[in-house]
Every structure is written in C-alpha cells, then in structure tokens.
Amino acid sequence: MINIVLLSLLVVIAIAIIRMKDLFAVVMLTGIYGLLSASFFVAMDAVDVAFTEAAVGAGISTLLMLVAITMTGRKEKVTRHKPFAALFIVLITGGLLIYGTLDMPLFGSADAPIHSHVAPRYLNDSMQEIGIPNVVTSVLASYRAFDTFGEVVVIFTAGIGVLALLFVPRRKEEDEKIASINDSMHEHHLVIRIITKMLIPFILLFALYVQFHGDYGPGGGFQAGVIFSSAIVLYTMLFGLSTARKVINQGFIQLMAAFGVLFYGCVGIASLMNGGNFFDYNVLSDDPVAGQHLGILLIEWGVGVTVAAIMIIIFFSFAGRRELQQHSENNKNRESL
C-alpha cells in the first residue's frame, strides 16, 4: 500500500518535471524525487540503498546541479524539438518493457527465481562465513568485493574527469584577489554560522559512526564518505572556498583520493601475498572469520576515504570554476564602467 502511494507521488513529480521550464524548480523537484525514491527504498527493505540515495540523490547531486545552473542560466528555452519522434521511441521502449513484464514473477512473491537461486546462500551462510549481521555489507565487501572496487574506481574516474575538465591552476596572488570578491552573503548570517559550527563536529562524528557501524546496520564506507564530504561542503558554502582550501588543499585531497583506491587494492594484493585469491580475506588472519572482519574493515576505509576525497574534489572544482567566472565577469563590468 505504502509503495503505491509513494510511486504515484513519484509519477506526479516526474510529470511536473517534464512540464516545467524553470530549471531551478526542476532541480528542486529532482531533489524531492531523490528523497521520495529513498523513502520507497526504505519501504522495500533496502535500507542501505535508501541511505545512499538520500545522501547522493537528494544531497550531493542536487547541490551540484544547483551550482551548475548558477553558472549556466536558469530558464529553459521554450522550443522543444522532435517531441513526436521522442514520444515514438519512448512508447516503443515502454511498450516492450510492459510486454516483458507480463511473464515476470509477481511483486513480492517469495518463490521467484531470484529468491531461490543465489541469494539464499548469502542469507543463510553469511553469518558463519563472514560473521556480520548486515548481509548487504557482507555481499558488498566480500562476496562481490570486486564490484565494489569497480565502484570506487568509477567515482575516482569521475573525480579525475571533473578535475581534468574544470580545474584551473591559480597563482597565489590571483587566488587572494578572487577570494576578496568572494560573495559574502553569509557575513551577516550570524545564526546560521553558529548553528553550522555546532553541527559540523556532529556530522563528522556521525560519519565515523556510519563508517564503523556498517557491519551491524545500514551504512558503510560509501555513505560515510558522502556524509563526511557534506560536512566539508557545508563549511565551504558558509566560509568561502579559499578558507576551505586552506584547510584542505588540492594536492592533499588528490593524494587522499588516490590513496583510498590504492588502499583498497592493497588489501587484495595482501591476500595474494598470503596465498589466497584476490580479495580472499580468509587468508588475512589465522581465523577465516576474523580475516573477513579485518578485510571488510580495511576496504570500507578505502571506500570511505576515496569517496569523501572525490566528493570534495568535485565540489571544489565546481565552486572554484564559479568563483573564477564571477571574477572575470566582475573584471568585465569594471572595464565597461
């Protein structure tokens, strides 16, 4: 019942997004879309996914889109080309999918093939084999550890890609000039500064909790990384990019991103050295279960460090580019005056 309500809300939002021309509103609605789908994931028992979707879909990606539209303009042009061709393609694809659903196992039925073939082993044996209650974490970090490694590399690739596209090396004096025109909206926002200062330690602490608690409840390295980086993002938004850069400079953060990936990989290499297959944690310690614990703990750290570093890199790149644009615009205005 709950899922139907949530799904219909999602449909309402999707249709509204199609119709809207104001990109700002579209981005806001996308944020709501993320929140709603995350609630849907909770209703579907996928707590880990909900965790991630909330942090990513509703948090980081909305924020990035916002920064982007402040640089690119807010209104969509009214012209909409080839709506019929699009409709045609969409109808065919959708029709095919609906045709495909007809033979699917019904929603929620426990005897569907996916519940009887591979998954039961995870649910039944993971406690003996790995020894942590969160099955999602044990599948993620041990049975399918290589997928997760791939995931870390994907986010690493994206971070380097964004850097390659947006990074502009700056000299010191230039940097200070830009920092001085850094829009100081929050100079007079005393309340929010204080509240933020109170919240940031709490957020960092919470990130650590999520990092360590991933074995027992929803959470893990990825979520912790995102939460950690969101604290830094919050700080950057309120106290300016150059202040934040003083705390975390570009070289250091790149190093951390690379370090996380290497760290993850080195766990695999360590199991090779100890005579097991790649990512075979059983050989990391005398007791297989203890080895699994150790392996999962280590790779979660690798994930957390990389994700936090890359999210910060991505945000810094966008914010830095934006400052640069404003700087050059200001110069232009000054010249025209």
């Binding site: 899922n3 219909s8 999602l10 449909v11 999707a14 997004i17 990109l23 789908s37 849907f40 579907m44 028992d45 996928a46 707590v47 996914v49 979707e53 990513v56 879909g57 990606s61 990035l64 889109m65 982007a68 640089m71 690119t72 969509e76 042009k77 909409r80 080309h81 080839k82 699009a86 393609i89 969409v90 109808l91 694809t93 959708g94 659903t101 699917m104 929603f107 929620g108 426990a110 996916i114 519940h115 998954a119 995870y122 406690m127 999602v136 599948v139 997928d147 997760t148 791939g150 995931e151 994907v154 994206a158 971070g159 890609g161 964004v162 596209l165 947006l166 409840g217 966008f318 644009q325």
Partner: protein, 126 residues
C-alpha cells in the same frame, strides 16, 4: 496478477518519462535531470524485485526469519555511485559548454557548429 505487476508498470512509466526528457528536451541540464530520473527509476525497478512479502530488511536478527533479497541492493548501491559519477561529469561538461558556446540549448549549439562549418566551406570554395 494486476496488483502484482502494477508496481512494475508504474516504474516503467517513470523510466519512460525520464527517457522522454532526455530525448525531447534541448536544454542540457534538463537532459541530465532526465538521465537521473531514468537511472533512478531503474534502481526502483531493481529494488522492487528484491522485495519479499512479509520479509524484512536483510540485516540478520534473531527473531526474524524472512528477509528480502540482498543482492539487488548491493547492485544498486554500485549503480547509484555510477549515476552520481555520470551526473557530475555531465554537469562539468555543461559548464564548459556554457563557457565556450555561451548557451546550453542543444539547438543553438548545433546552429553555431553548422555556421562555423559553413564558413569553413565557403573559405574552401574560394
């Protein structure tokens, strides 16, 4: 039967509205929003197939015997990361496009490219 598949159908409608935005809209940010919706709907599709009626979240606990399938959750965790990676890269491309073309409307970018090509061709004809 109807209720059992209804979920999937709604998800398909969501997917298709995402795909429609990608294809039909010329604004690049809107295209990326469309992609996000498209991908998110696929996530919803995966997650809803993992659900078992009466099951609970796959975090083992003593007094619960039926759990939902954890494997799709793991896959979607990875896919979400892929999604945000794509969005971030796409947005940085859009920012660069705005800087060099001065617009983020597909048609205008295409027009500028065509104009440039025509100018080149004219030069060649001379």
């Amino acid at each position: 039967m109807l209720m059992g598949l209804f979920n999937n159908w709604v998800v398909i409608v969501l997917m298709m509205s995402g795909l429609y935005i990608v294809i039909a809209h010329g604004n690049l940010i809107k295209k990326l929003v469309g992609l996000t919706i498209f991908q998110t709907s696929v996530f919803i599709f995966y997650i809803s197939m993992a659900k078992v009626n009466g099951g609970s979240a796959p975090i083992l606990s003593e007094n619960i015997s039926l759990y939902s399938n954890p494997l799709p959750h793991v896959l979607i965790l990875t896919a979400i990361v892929v999604g945000i990676a794509t969005t971030a890269l796409g947005l940085s491309l859009v920012v660069r496009l705005k800087e060099s073309y001065g617009t983020i409307e597909e048609e205008e970018i295409q027009r500028q490219d065509n104009q440039q090509n025509q100018a080149l061709n004219k030069e060649r004809d001379k």
